[in-house]
Amino acid sequence: MRLKNALKNLRKDANLTQQQLGDLVEVSRKTINTVENRVFYPSTFLSLKLAKALNVKVEDIFWLADSAESPEP
């Protein structure tokens, strides 16, 4: 199983840059970038902050996929 995310799309839907989203959740732009690229897996706390900042549920940002090809929920 792999942890996938739609953070990049949701951020763009909210018309936010990585820097602006980082400022909202108090992390650096680099951290937002590595989360989007699945290099860094955020904590539950940061995941909840991201969901709150984007006004979505955590499950809308992150989900488990059986393979790399699994579509978004």
């Binding site: 400022d23 108090e26 992390v27 650096s28 951290t31 590595t34 290099v39 860094f40």
Partner: protein
Amino acid sequence: MNKVSAISLIMYAGLALYVATLFFLFFTGQNIPQQVAWIGIAAAPYIFMIHTAFWFFFPKESRLAFDEQTTETERRSQAFGYFAALATFLICLALVLIGTLKPSTAYWFMGFSLVIPSIYMIFAHFSGRAG
């Protein structure tokens, strides 16, 4: 990169450069005054004070500079540095026991291994995994 991240990177680079210079001077056979070797130790409280001052005067930048990813990367750098130092010690011990390496030279190698977490953090900064 905000100013606290930049200062942090400069500190890591300064420490790595200082140790690398000592290492180079030792291996090129130049005489190193004992006072020079103590500069690194004397710098530690200054680094602590600079970091504390930044937390006091620039709390927002400090929170961003030491966010979740950076603290995780720091933990990894310390773990990596610990095992690297342990491996260096064991290799040096073996080489000293079989007579290939002098104990005084082994001492320098072991000292150099202590700067590995700093080098790890420099790479992490440039690869976007810290700062």
